[in-house]
């Protein structure tokens, strides 16, 4: 029973939503669901926060290796949460001075924007920037002419990489006009227009069918591996 009811909830909800796309009266059902979903996800943050706190409190109480770092995580979590939830140090919005919480957390000079600018931004954007190093090491290791597929992968990447800088212009810029299509920068555009478009198009058609089949497996009750509920 604990698995049957959720399955039927999924089936009815899914078909109703599918139908709503065709009925102009219910056209906004999708947007409404997006709102409902965002609210449920925001409420579920309590569960995530609980998991985070439990995980680190257990580490602390057991004095696991690296428990000191758990103090940092928990401490920064709680401090940020308090500053943000209570809008500490935020002045009301000048247009609505009578509403105490009308100011935005993002206003310049607030503790919240300090956290954003000097902690979140450098930490996350540096993490993002690590990619520049990883593209280099991946290219060194993976782009080797082992077989036809690998050769195509590597040659295309090579053409595009060169075509995107001044180096490409220096190497092939002297090609006469009638062969201008073979200049690296034009060749890379050609590759994008023809091969990339064909590949991406087929991938998209395949994904659409994959999504449809996955969705139908759920809505027909064939695939229930995602269903929890305990007793089978």
């Amino acid at each position: 029973m604990k698995r049957i009811i959720p399955m039927w909830i999924a089936i009815i909800g899914g078909f109703a939503m599918m139908l709503s796309s065709f009925v102009p009266l219910a056209e906004s059902a999708g947007e409404m669901f997006a709102d409902v979903f965002n609210v449920v996800a925001a409420i579920a943050f309590v569960l995530g926060a609980g998991s985070l706190a439990k995980q680190h409190l257990e580490k602390l109480s057991r004095r696991d290796a690296g428990w000191g770092y758990s103090i940092i995580t928990l401490g920064s979590f709680i401090i940020t949460l308090i500053i943000g939830m209570l809008k500490i140090g935020i002045h009301p919005n000048p247009i609505f001075p009578q509403a105490a919480y009308s100011g935005s957390n993002d206003s310049e000079g607030s503790a919240w924007s300090w956290i954003y600018e000097y902690m979140i931004t450098p930490l996350t954007s540096t993490m993002f920037a690590l990619l520049a190093f990883f593209v280099a090491s991946a290219a060194f290791r993976a782009f080797r002419a082992k077989n036809t597929e690998a050769i195509l992968l590597l040659v295309t990447a090579f053409i595009v990489l060169l075509g995107r800088t001044f180096a490409g212009v220096v190497l092939t810029g002297w090609f006469p006009d009638w062969a201008s299509g073979l200049r690296l920068e034009n060749l890379s555009i050609y590759v994008m227009q023809v091969f990339n478009t064909a590949g991406n198009r087929a991938i998209m058609i395949g994904i659409a069918l994959g999504v449809a089949a996955t969705g139908l497996r759920i809505l027909f009750g064939i695939d229930r591996s995602w269903l929890g509920g305990g007793d089978a």
């Binding site: 078909f15 796309s21 409420i43 943050f45 300090w114 520049a132 040659v155 090579f158 595009v160 091969f195």
Partner: protein, 323 residues
């Protein structure tokens, strides 16, 4: 001491020495200056307390402006050095280096940065979820009076449908949280099932419409194209290239589709087509890889610029310090 430990020590010592040396030369190291301004706001007439409230705001200004202001009037207090922001700047530089240090090896600095970013960002998104979703959407629909008086006086009155959907969302949310109680945690499977089912229903429609149908329709191109010049004559070379491009495109789409066939063994004609299909996919991937590299390097360049420009004051591309 291990070899790695020694390496760390040497790197650290050289780094600190360079930093101190940099600090003694020229304009020194990163500092932040702020300009103060007064904000005075009139309270609505009905209010019984003071007619106005005021507070000070500080905006960041380039060091150049501070120098100019000091030159004009050494006693000015409008533009001043900001301790909290300068500390923040140095912290940001520390975090940047701490994350980069992970490329060498896992180390305590990275672990500190990692612990902090997890704690701060988890709370950050929780707070965003509360103020940007729960307050305007849910509380705005269910308790509009409260939201209007405390947060957003300009809030529009909620419509009936909005209220119904938010009551529904609240019920789903409460069912999710039921898990925290000792009994009946299974009920949280219901909202999850609803979300999964609705997602499946919505995505089937949107993917079939925009991916399957639209992409297939766009592929119905003629294999022979005639390109005419401005004068009206047919340009043979351009027509030839355009035709080749269309043929390659159509062949590519069909062959890649053949690659994705599951219930047919990849032998014979299908096998050959699937092989051409995988070639196309590899070219696609190579091109995307090459194209993305540029953006990734731009990200690294931005971090390096932060270190050199904002923190170390080694370069001044925007002429903020009048080099």
């Amino acid at each position: 001491m291990t070899r790695q430990g020694k390496t760390w020590l040497i790197i650290g010592a050289v780094f600190v020495a360079l930093l101190v040396a940099r600090g003694m030369i020229g304009q020194g190291l990163g500092r932040v200056y702020v300009k103060r301004s007064e904000v005075i706001v009139k309270l609505p007439a009905s209010s019984t307390s003071a007619a106005t409230i005021s507070w000070q705001e500080w905006k960041q200004v380039p060091p150049l402006e501070f120098d100019a202001a000091q030159k004009a009037n050494p006693a000015q207090t409008e533009i001043s050095f900001s301790w909290p922001r300068t500390i923040g700047l140095w912290l940001a530089a520390f975090f940047t280096l701490a994350i980069f240090s992970f490329l060498y090896a896992d180390n305590p600095f990275y672990k500190i940065a990692e612990s902090l970013v997890v704690g701060v960002s988890a709370a950050y998104w929780g707070v965003i979820g509360f103020w940007d979703t729960l307050v305007p959407k849910m509380f705005g629909a269910l308790t509009p009076g409260l939201v209007k008086s405390l947060v957003q006086p300009s809030l529009l009155d909620p419509e009936n449908m909005q209220q119904i959907s938010m009551v529904f969302a609240l019920i789903l949310g409460v069912m999710m949280l039921w898990r925290l109680l000792p009994r009946g945690g299974w009920i949280s499977a219901w909202p999850l099932a609803f979300i999964v089912g609705v997602t499946a229903g919505l995505k089937i429609v949107s993917h079939v419409e925009s991916d399957l149908m639209a992409q297939a329709a766009a592929t119905m191109k003629p294999l022979v194209v005639s390109v005419t010049d401005a004068s009206g004559a047919i340009n043979i070379w351009a027509s030839w290239w355009a035709s080749v491009a269309n043929v390659l495109l159509v062949v590519g789409v069909i062959c890649c589709l053949a690659y994705f066939f599951f219930s047919v063994q990849h032998k014979g004609v299908v096998g050959g087509a699937a092989r051409v299909g995988i070639w196309y996919l590899m070219i696609t991937f190579g091109a995307s890889f090459g194209f993305t590299v540029m953006g990734r390097i731009a990200l690294l360049a931005a971090r390096v610029e932060f270190l050199f420009d904002d923190w170390l004051w080694l370069i001044d591309p925007n002429h903020f310090r009048g080099l």
